[in-house]
């Protein structure tokens, strides 16, 4: 079965070569212009850049990223479940209740996060 995966490796290699050569051709063919101070400046709609370059941003972004990891785990467990569901459900409903209780446990955390306003971006 590992043979099936060899073309994927080739695809990755081709993608890398393509990206590198596209940039390379552009370096070779592209014109070179003068560098000026204004040209080197960060673009802020024609104004002179001011303030900190990297503004602090809301802790919400981290919260979303962390919650994403946790719920991503749940989805990962759902794939093997989905694959075997049809043949296992013929032998009894254990598989249905197993996943339902797993999701119910996770939903407690989800509802808690909602109630605490973790996903409320309006504040």
């Amino acid at each position: 079965m590992a043979r099936d995966y060899l073309p994927l490796l080739l695809q990755i290699v081709v993608a890398i070569i393509f990206a590198a050569s596209a940039l390379g051709v552009s370096v070779l063919v592209g014109r070179t212009g003068k560098r000026t101070r204004a040209k080197d400046m960060a673009y802020e709609c024609g104004m002179i850049p001011q303030g900190e370059v990297q503004p602090r941003f809301s802790v919400k972004f981290y919260l979303v990223a962390m919650l994403f990891i946790l719920f991503d785990l749940e989805i990962v467990f759902m794939y093997p479940w989905a694959v075997v569901y049809k043949e296992q459900i013929a032998h009894g409903s254990t598989i249905f209740w197993s996943m339902l209780s797993f999701i119910a446990i996770l939903m407690v955390g989800y509802v808690y996060a909602l109630k605490k306003g973790a996903l409320n971006w309006q504040k």
């Binding site: 079965m1 590992a2 995966y5 490796l9 990297q54 602090r56 941003f57 802790v59 972004f61 981290y62 919260l63 990223a65 962390m66 919650l67 994403f68 990891i69 946790l70 991503d72 785990l73 749940e74 990962v76 467990f77 794939y79 093997p80 479940w81 694959v83 075997v84 296992q88 254990t94 598989i95 197993s98 996943m99 209780s101 797993f102 446990i105 996770l106 407690v108 955390g109 989800y110 808690y112 996060a113 605490k116 973790a118």
Partner: protein, 169 residues
Amino acid sequence: MQLFLFWCAALLMLVFGVAVILNRNPVASALSLVVSFLGLATLFMMLDAYFIGIIQVLVYAGAVMVLFLFIIMLLDLRAENLRKINWPATAGGAVVAFVFLIQVLSVIGRLTDAKKTFPPLARSTIDDVRNVGVTLFTNFNFPFQVIGVLVLVATIGVVVLSKRELANK
């Protein structure tokens, strides 16, 4: 062919693993760790553990490292670049690592089973995702629920910690 690919993936993993700790720039470290994970995923796939391999990419490279990158971006990178190396701490770390290496080597040296080569594993021709599913949902239903509780605790922890942050503002 197999052997060549193995060395490529292993080398990729080790080189970028070392790069994680040697890079002064945290973003470079995080990206090196991603490449190292990709090498690890390749190794898993070469062992016919396709599901684990792809989950390695999906969860670690695609989700956990994005969070790392987010956090790194909040740090003041210039301060991090200017910081001097703390030589006593570095030396201490090296000593601990060396002692650990000796310990692992001595344990493996005593273990006679470790000297034997593994019997070749039976090449599975069935879907490994299916195997994972059948095992998980017939024999390990209870541990599966425990994982759910673990994730629940983590969710609540995340919200509680960040709420404190939000309240401070």
